[in-house]
């Protein structure tokens, strides 16, 4: 597989070709694969798909890009879970994609843009997977509020897919303090009356912390 970077022209073409309806469907239905196959040369090993989990539809590069995006999205604690493979959002996303192949092309295009797009399109000069944590966060910060609708769509679409892939995983629930479904003590607490509090707004003043 080709491991070399795509030209800026090719990336812009991918962005232009990004089929808006298809990509937006991604944000809701969530799925896809890539038409821009490329290998994982120079990609940090923590982002490379493990040998026992060959993606169904994502390319190796697409897998790595999605994994990197997810780590940046969810913050350090859950990123550590991804790094140790306790969570594998790219594999989960890949499984969703496999169920909805009509959207595969769109996601692939989106991941190509994120991985290979450089300034002024995206706030970086190197592949997304090659960036440090702070640099990746800068890219996401620009994407989230970009004046270019398609770039905001890219952020929203990937965020939808990543939140789906991460936060539906029981491993994430443990980190978040969610006891899991069917836990009687938790259900009982949720249905208890609220503690009485003595003042309105701005936190507790009645010693009612549990």
């Amino acid at each position: 597989m080709n491991a070399g970077p795509l030209s800026q022209e090719a990336v812009e073409k991918a962005l232009t070709a990004l089929h808006r309806r298809g990509f937006l469907q991604l944000a809701g239905a969530v799925a896809a694969t890539t038409l821009f196959p490329s290998g994982c040369g120079a990609v940090p090993s923590e982002l490379v798909p493990p040998s026992e989990r060959v993606p169904f539809v994502l390319s190796e590069r697409g897998y790595a890009t999605f994994q990197a995006f997810s780590m940046s999205l969810v913050g350090p604690a859950l990123a550590r879970e991804i790094r140790t493979r306790a969570l594998d959002p790219a594999s989960a996303a890949d499984a969703w994609v496999a169920r909805q192949p009509a959207l595969a092309r769109t996601l692939g295009q989106g991941l190509v843009v994120l991985e290979w797009g450089v300034w002024p399109l995206l706030a970086k000069w190197r592949p997304f997977t090659a960036l440090g944590d702070a640099e990746r966060e800068r890219v996401l910060a620009r994407l989230a509020v970009s004046r270019i609708e398609l770039l905001r769509d890219l952020y929203r679409g990937l965020k939808s897919l990543a939140t789906l892939a991460v936060y539906t995983d029981p491993a994430a629930r443990r980190v978040l303090g969610h006891p899991g479904p069917f836990v009687a003590e938790g259900i009982a607490l949720a249905m208890q009356p609220l503690p009485v509090r003595s003042r309105v707004g701005g936190g507790d003043a009645s010693g009612s912390h549990e």
Binding site: L26, V74, A144, G177, F182, G186, I187, A190
Partner: protein, 508 residues
């Protein structure tokens, strides 16, 4: 089964098994008709519902996104339709809305008293029950507390449940069978009356000859792959479409019948707040309390939105929070202390559904400025409410806005030049129209009895035939209207069949 097989004929075909299809199939079967019910989704039973979103979402739901606004639309995709994945909320048909349908849309037959008769039957059938204090979760009570401190009107909403276990899984397929969805009510009742339900069968087209319906063409969907099989032809002189707003208009269009205009939704965004006490908002009824202060139905004259508490499920909570990285982590780390409420806006926007070259639905829906401003107002009021209830931090569903800790910080919300894409998650689960009932063929797809203009024997009975949104969770209204239409279509199906009526769906 091959073409020509006797079972490929029926007195009536109902397409869809949700709030529009379930009651229709029941009424027709109980009227003595041989009813075939075709459903594109799979049939999952209560025992299959494991409470895990990763397995339940792809089995039970479908979603699409509106190209021109980025709005996300969700619907059920299984036997029982959206009633399997809704939040079990029950509101009677708002009299103001029925009046508007009569006065503005010329649907003279939609009398409140007549509609009430059907709503009563539905209320009983789905076991709609008042929600008492013991069924209000902390998540709901925080909404109630904030409303009370601000002097706003609110109420616990009726729910169609029997013996709710408060698992917080209403919208993932209730694992205890407490929620009385169509899967547990209308569909079995229709089957007891002889209806044959065929899941995983996608109707491609309605067959029309010389202005009369002749049946449908459909394909079976492979259980493992979802691949469509050979085209099958089912024949029937009576076809009732209830495939949902994302499919019924598309099915009409694929059949060469005008449809798709007049889409209208309840737009939704949610506000999340952190409290010092544990809320455990991921448990308890997924929704149960509504602030009706700003509603414009059921006697209220507000700007037209309701505020309803909603489950703090990790995925949907994360998707609705602004920000990423450490900011998102900070919010999600407080998950046990979070409360969340959704805005249910009675949109003024109208959209349109068309089909692409493959015959797939394409929705166009661009929220008008007035709707965006009312969403802004709703978000502001919700933030105020949560602060009044004692929230330490409130997250607004707009990308780029920092969480607020006091009302004075709401200025950032006012400064945003709001577009649909500024919301973290703008979505709708209450979809209406696309095959509207109307007074004339020029203004809608069917008449006030659901009869498709120009095609005898073809009816629409789901939310796509409703002329507007309802301003309240609509399942009871949809079911009541479906019963009303099915009663009419059963009577219209001929004296031989009418004489076989065993008992009325309304009286049972």
């Amino acid at each position: 089964m091959t073409p020509g097989d006797e079972s490929l004929r029926a007195d009536a075909i109902v397409v869809g098994t949700g709030a529009g299809g379930g009651p229709a199939a029941t009424a027709l079967a109980e009227a003595g008709l041989d009813v075939l019910v075709l459903e594109s989704g799979a049939r999952h039973e209560t025992r299959d519902f494991d409470g895990e979103p990763a397995t339940m979402l792809p089995r039970l739901m479908k979603a699409t996104t509106v190209p021109d606004s980025g709005m996300e639309l969700y619907a059920g995709a299984c036997v029982g339709g959206s009633t399997v994945v809704n939040d079990a909320l029950c509101w009677r048909p708002p009299p103001e809305v029925l009046a508007r349908w009569r006065d503005e849309y010329g649907l003279r037959g939609l009398e409140d008293s007549d509609f009430s008769r059907y709503a009563d039957a539905v209320w009983q059938q789905v076991h709609a029950t008042p929600t008492g204090p013991g069924d209000l979760s902390r998540n709901a009570r925080l909404l109630e507390r904030g409303a009370q401190r601000l002097g706003w009107v609110g109420e616990a909403m009726a729910r169609n449940v029997r013996g709710c276990a408060h698992l917080g899984l209403c919208n993932l397929g209730c694992p205890t069978g407490a929620k009385q969805s169509a899967l547990l009510t209308w569909v079995p009742r229709a089957e007891r009356a002889g209806a044959r339900v065929q899941p995983r069968t996608r109707v491609e087209r309605v067959l029309v000859e010389a202005g009369r319906v002749r049946g449908v063409e459909a394909r079976r969907l492979d259980a493992a792959t979802g691949q469509a099989g050979d085209l099958l032809r089912w024949e029937s002189p009576l076809v009732v479409l209830a495939a949902g707003v994302l499919e019924t208009p598309a099915l009409l269009l694929r059949s060469g019948i005008p449809a798709g205009a007049g889409l209208q939704f309840h737009s939704s965004v949610s506000v999340t707040a952190r409290f010092p006490e544990r809320v455990y908002g991921f448990y308890g009824p997924t929704m149960s309390y509504a602030v009706t202060e700003f509603s414009d139905v059921h006697g209220r004259q507000g700007p037209g939105f309701m505020l309803e508490n909603v489950t703090v499920a990790p995925m949907t909570t994360a998707a609705s929070l602004p920000g990423f990285g450490p900011a998102l982590e900070h919010a999600m780390a407080a998950l046990p202390h979070l409360a969340r409420t959704v805005v249910v806006l009675r949109d003024e926007t109208r959209g349109r559904l068309t089909i692409d070259r493959q015959g797939t639905a394409v929705v166009s829906y661009a929220p008008v400025p007035h709707d965006l401003e009312r969403l802004r107002l709703a978000i502001r009021q919700l933030a105020r409410l949560y602060l009044a209830a004692g929230a330490e931090e409130v997250w607004l569903p707009i990308e780029g806005l920092a969480p607020i800790r006091r009302e004075a910080e709401l200025g950032g919300l006012d400064r945003v030049a709001l577009t649909p894409r500024d919301f973290t998650l703008l979505y709708a689960v209450h979809l209406f129209g696309g095959a509207n009932m109307s007074a004339t063929p020029q203004t809608g797809a069917c008449d006030e009895f659901g009869r498709v203009w120009g095609v005898r024997g073809l009816y629409v009975s789901d939310a796509s035939c409703l002329p507007s949104n309802t301003g309240a969770n609509p399942q009871i209204t949809i079911m009541a209207n479906a019963l009303r239409i099915a009663d009419g279509s059963a009577l219209a199906s001929g004296p031989r069949r009418a004489s076989r009526r065993r008992h009325s769906s309304v009286s049972s």
